[in-house]
Amino acid sequence: MSLLQEKTENKSVFSFMWLLSTLILLAALIFTIIPLIFMFTASAMPSKDILKMPYRWVPRGFHWQNYFKAIAGNDGNYMFFRNIINSVIVACSVTVSTVLLAGITGYGLAKFRFRGRNIVFLAIMATMMIPFEAIMIPLYLVATNLHLQNSYGGLIFPFLVNAFGVFMMRQFLITFPDEFLDATRIDGAGEIRIFFNIVLPNIKPAIATLAILTFRTQWDNLIWPLLIAQSEKMKTVPLYIVKFAAEKYTDEGAMMAVAFLASIPMLILFFSMSNYFVSGASVYSSRKG
């Protein structure tokens, strides 16, 4: 009898916690998602309605012209497709190189003891501590000396790896079991093979996370591409969007439509990667328990 009572009591506490957690999650959900809903509904309205206050959340009909204009562009030259391909090329290259370079560097910093390791780590961290505005001009000088203007190289090279990626990989690899690495070393595996065959497959959540965050940062990168990619053919999606947001000529509806179209690749990527986030790490479970 008493056992049963305890159980029900436990359950009521549990369901109160469940309710509280639901409320918190729901509140956060509304807060984060409102602007997204705004974007989508506004993309279906003529500018006249968007600017009308208070904002009406349900569009009257679907104003397809916004999407036609979004794709055709201000100049009517359909650069959108070209620009979106540029963005995909740049963001994918940067993501792959960041995951590899940050992975290998973070691994080196987390799992190897060598003289100067802390200095190296600190130096890499230090690169995050200067605002971009302060290094923009010297960086532009470097890029122009390498003749990187209006090229994929100019868009990609300055972002091949970043300190955040290294830091993140290091933090995730610190808890990676040493005995496991030593065991494979004794089996005679080379260091590079250990990294690619043992380490990488076992930190999938970290890789997926870094990949998403890196891709996103590139997808939304504005200032640098603005400087380095002047020709229409080399522009990326954010630059395309900025054209719609040019102060005096803004067509809000078309701008929202572009923004919505531009967010689709991010959504696809997120969905295809999200399984890895929660997939867990097999190496740990095989080890301890």
């Binding site: 959900l29 690169t127 605002p131 867990g280």
Partner: protein, 301 residues
């Protein structure tokens, strides 16, 4: 025996260097050089468009800044913003990540929803937020509904306190998803077997969180709190956008905004660089402090 061991150590330390070298070469070109360049320029009266050799000032730019009330106001604005943003960011993102992981259903959807601010183009998000904060926008409508004060304009973009709060709100919105995703990755890396073992030992969820989850999550917590802190100290876009939209500048004139205005708008590149170097030292110090106090590197199962 001893000799062989040190041989392995030596070999491993060499591999450590091999692994970090490619990134180091990259950083030298694209980060260290520009930073050193900024440090060098901070010693001169350098104007952005001038072709003449700039006057050497020594520490003149630094002296000017340390006696400038405008600069100290920027320090204040930066620290208020950082404290008001990064602590809630770390705590709430951890809370949301733990709550999401405790769910059986809707994990994917919730993650995506929290991450959605990141999916939205920053340029467009800015336009949307300005419409929300417009006196006729939903910020006023909803707040007035919640606290039952119909028709009051809360001056989201105008009053000194409100404009600081609004920048924090927008920033929080933009980055909460980032950190939730990182925490989820950290939580997913914790072996399930440990939880099962704890459950068999009769631990309740609260104990599991404090005794198992949090200690194992320490490196991730450090990662998120350092990143959130650095990001907040470096915040620029939100404040820039608010000022462009007509907000008063003084309450939200963070250091980076001051750097931008001094260097780009007023053309005083030397003074702007000096400001960047001061900010650099501040960030370095607080990062060091966090590493020092957390001792997160000593993780044990």
């Amino acid at each position: 025996m001893k000799k062989k061991y040190s041989g392995i150590e030596k070999k491993l330390s060499r591999w450590g260097w091999y692994f970090v070298t490619p990134s180091l070469i990259f950083f030298m070109l694209f980060s260290f050089y520009p930073i050193i360049n900024a440090a060098y320029i901070s010693l001169f009266r350098k104007k952005i468009l001038s072709l003449k050799a700039p006057d050497f000032l020594g520490l003149g730019n630094y002296k000017y800044l340390l006696s400038s009330s405008d600069f100290w106001n920027s320090m204040r604005a930066t620290f208020v913003f950082t404290l008001g943003t990064f602590i809630p960011l770390v705590i709430v993102s951890l809370l949301l990540a733990v709550l999401i992981m405790g769910r059986n259903k809707g994990k994917k959807f919730l993650q995506l929803a929290y991450y959605s601010p990141a999916v939205l183009s920053s340029v467009v998000a800015a336009v949307i937020w300005m419409m929300i904060f417009d006196p006729r926008g939903i910020a006023n409508q909803w707040l007035n509904f919640l606290v039952n004060t119909p028709g009051v304009d809360h001056l989201w973009l105008a009053k000194s306190f409100m404009v600081q709060f609004s920048t924090m709100l927008v920033y929080f919105w933009k980055y909460i998803g980032y950190f939730v995703v990182i925490f989820i990755a950290g939580l997913a890396s914790i072996p399930h077997s440990l939880y099962e073992a704890a459950k068999i030992d009769g631990a309740v969820p609260r104990q599991i969180f404090w005794r198992i989850t949090l200690p194992l999550l320490k490196p991730t917590v450090l990662l998120v709190s350092i990143m959130a802190m650095l990001q907040c100290l470096k915040t620029f876009g939100t404040q820039y956008l608010f000022v462009q939209a007509g907000s008063p500048q003084a309450p939200i004139n963070v250091i980076t905004l001051n750097i931008y205005n001094t260097g780009i708008r007023d053309h005083l590149l030397g003074r702007a660089s000096a400001m960047s170097i001061i900010l650099f030292v501040i960030m370095l110090f607080f990062t060091w402090l966090q590493f020092k106090t957390s001792k997160a590197d000593d993780v044990d199962y």
